[in-house]
Symmetry: C2
Subunit: 436 residues, 2 copies
């Protein structure tokens, strides 16, 4: 049964905290298995990757067949319906437009002391994108991961996608082609993450790995973090809808189910100031479930992890939302921007009654890779900065070094790092070439 | 003996790759111990923190004494020399000026389809800064971690610093006070990371943890990553100096030693196109070592991990530098900016003959927390963005949803997520309130 809470209940605070801290992940500890696979790939390269692919994906690869051929790639589109390709193109263009706006600017200046300082952004040389294979087929994820890398200026974008029994989804390949990815390998799991991080005979290593995956992929990403950059460890998807009584309960119910249908451990929460609306929405959920193809998954998610929280006034929702820090937040209320201004902790915010969360999953433009499990408190959705890094630049002249150097020498001495201080002093007390 | 390489050697490529992949860390696996401590702190809170502090730091704490008192904090300054306090103040002001320039801008616009889109930056609510205690006393690290958080607008900045036998360094406290930190706890190690991440009776949890520490602290940060944000897993410090023969070898030798003196596993590398200069610099290193207080550490670092690489032309240094992706890069050459433009992979770049790396450790302004162990390929030095996160905002009207919605519905159907598609369709085919 869906959890029902009201902030007038005497035990509300305790029950809300219990709800927040309840773990939805099965918390499967696969790290030992994953560590062994990674070590094996690091040590034995291609041979290890081929063995694991044969075992887990029932696919025998060779150095000649591990990579998707130009023919396979070109051929994929012919297996996709034109309207679907057109929709993908619309999505790609809108994602590109949004992300391109957020390329960071460099900063170069000379300060009052005569020191030239700079902050300069550059793209990583190579990015690897993990795309799940098998039953789940998400061409939208290909675009959401690849387009920010492309906007960032990454020269080499590599995709890995498992091909169980040799099957690859044509739409996933079509999305890759649309994003300009030509280097695609038919591998998945921890072995694919290892290949991207360490490199093998067939695959040059990359600098950053992004993209969703199962528990093994997530554990492998955590393990290689430091050798490469990673986006985040994604947890199950979440939606929080704040809605007043002026909404159509059938709309809001469908929004809740659009998250619940992802996964049995997905989470959908409604906060409303209208108890009647809450009841009507619950009824509408049951009604929608009668006709929804993924009803079994959605029902389990809703019953096990869903919640309806009734508050006296919508203002009281604000601290609850910030505590929950949801991945997706819908504000189906009047003046949604007023409330949004008071909510720093949410991955993406969907404003008003005509912005269902699903629009952000595909074509709105912002990324659908968003922080889960309350990490919106401190992290951001995928964006161009995940594929860039910043260098700082410092240039002193003899004069400016003379001005700021003594303070540095004082602090170095205090920290007991004498060579630090002397590397400044030697320049202030001596000529640049020895013997002068 | 310091490694000597020349790119005219027939085996240069192989030896350079060996040098790059050699591990300097002792790679101590403390993760089991750390996991046990974290679980204990998470479960038992204060009691566990007090027990570990008693055992590791020989300090018995209570809820009344775990926090540095306002008196202790106010008192610290009186134990510091005025010139040192003044140097700290100079450093704080310059770090503040540099970081404040890089506050990101929000972006809000309505596109051609009539969809309002936004990207909004907000600071995290609370940041925790780890400061090592004991023999190493680095007030500069307090500033380098705290000032970006302060510039980002973080309202609650918490510091943890171990106080072995109750001893706290007054300069570390003075630096904290200068940075405006008033919430300081006398704890360290994995137990302090656990307290910051999970919270205890005495310490509210934070959202982001930054700052350097030993192997236990590093492992604990890796473990709590996801529950909180972290800056990076710092490895031993590194410097790479590219210098032509026009430098004073005694200056460059001191720069190399300023890194080597940090730690026996620190690394200092010289790349030059002048074999005579290389020899003269090696001689100068030996000469400096005679008088350097930390000579034992510096000598071991230089002999075990240092390298001198002679190239035929300075241009040949560029790909080597990008492969090494050093934390600190000095370009002691003519026209250093021309070369810097070709080097994306370096944490911080020190330009010209009058910019010793040490100036960046203290007062130049840019952060001294920088990516190590080749991670400058994909990560950045600490900056305001480490203490902020970005939300995206989407607002459709009925009209703009009608324009972009169908493409989303097509893709949702293709991905087998029918509730996604229906949450859009129901809005386009029905009135906002039921029964209309």
């Amino acid at each position: 049964m869906v959890t029902l809470l009201s902030n007038t209940d005497s035990d509300f605070t305790a029950r809300f905290e219990d709800f927040i801290t309840a773990r939805r992940d099965d918390d499967q500890d696969v790290s030992d298995v994953v560590r062994a696979i990674l070590t094996d790939v690091r040590t034995r390269g291609d041979v290890a990757v081929f063995e694991y692919t044969s075992r887990f994906d029932k696919l025998d690869l060779t150095p000649e067949t591990i990579r998707v051929s130009p023919e396979e790639l070109a051929n994929a589109k012919s297996h996709c319906a034109p309207d679907v390709l057109q929709a993908l193109k619309t999505a790609a263009e809108r994602i590109d437009s949004f992300h391109r706006r957020h390329l960071p600017e460099d900063d170069n200046y000379t300060d009052d002391a005569g020191v030239s300082l700079g902050a300069r952004w550059t793209p990583v040389a190579a990015a690897g994108i993990y795309v799940p294979g098998g039953k789940a087929v998400y061409p939208s994820s290909v675009l959401m991961n690849a387009m920010p890398a492309k906007c960032a200026g990454v020269e080499r974008i590599v995709m890995v996608v498992p091909a169980p029994n040799g099957d690859l989804n044509p739409l996933v390949l079509a999305a890759a082609e649309l994003a300009g990815i030509t280097e695609i390998y038919k591998i998945g799991g921890a072995q694919a993450i290892g290949a991207l991080a360490y490199g093998t005979e067939s695959i040059s290593p990359v600098d950053v790995i992004t993209g969703p995956g199962n528990a093994f992929v997530a554990a492998a990403k955590r393990e290689v973090f430091g050798t490469v950059g990673i986006d985040m460890i994604a947890g199950p998807s979440e939606i929080l809808v704040v809605a007043d009584g002026q909404n159509n309960p059938r709309w809001i119910a469908m929004d809740l189910l659009s998250q619940a249908e992802h996964d049995e451990v997905a989470q959908a929460i409604l906060i409303t100031d209208d108890a009647d609306f809450a009841r009507a929405t619950c009824d509408a959920v049951e009604d929608h479930l009668k006709t929804l193809p993924r009803a079994d998954i959605a029902r389990k998610s809703w019953n096990d992890h869903g919640a309806v929280i009734v508050v006296e006034t919508l203002d009281q929702a604000i601290p609850l939302v910030n505590r929950l820090a949801p991945e997706h937040l819908e504000l189906a209320i009047d003046a949604p921007r007023d409330m949004a201004a008071k909510i720093p902790n949410a991955g993406s915010i969907f404003l008003g009654r005509y912005t269902p969360e699903a629009i952000g999953d595909y074509v709105a433009g912002p990324n659908h890779v968003l922080p889960t499990a309350r990490s919106a408190r401190f992290s951001s959705g995928l964006n161009v900065l995940n594929f860039m890094k910043r260098n700082t630049l410092i240039e002193c002249t003899r004069e400016s070094l003379a001005q700021i150097g003594p303070a540095a020498m004082t602090l170095a001495e205090e920290e007991g790092l004498q060579a630090h201080g002397r590397s400044i002093g030697i320049r202030l007390n001596n000529a640049p070439t020895e013997g002068d």
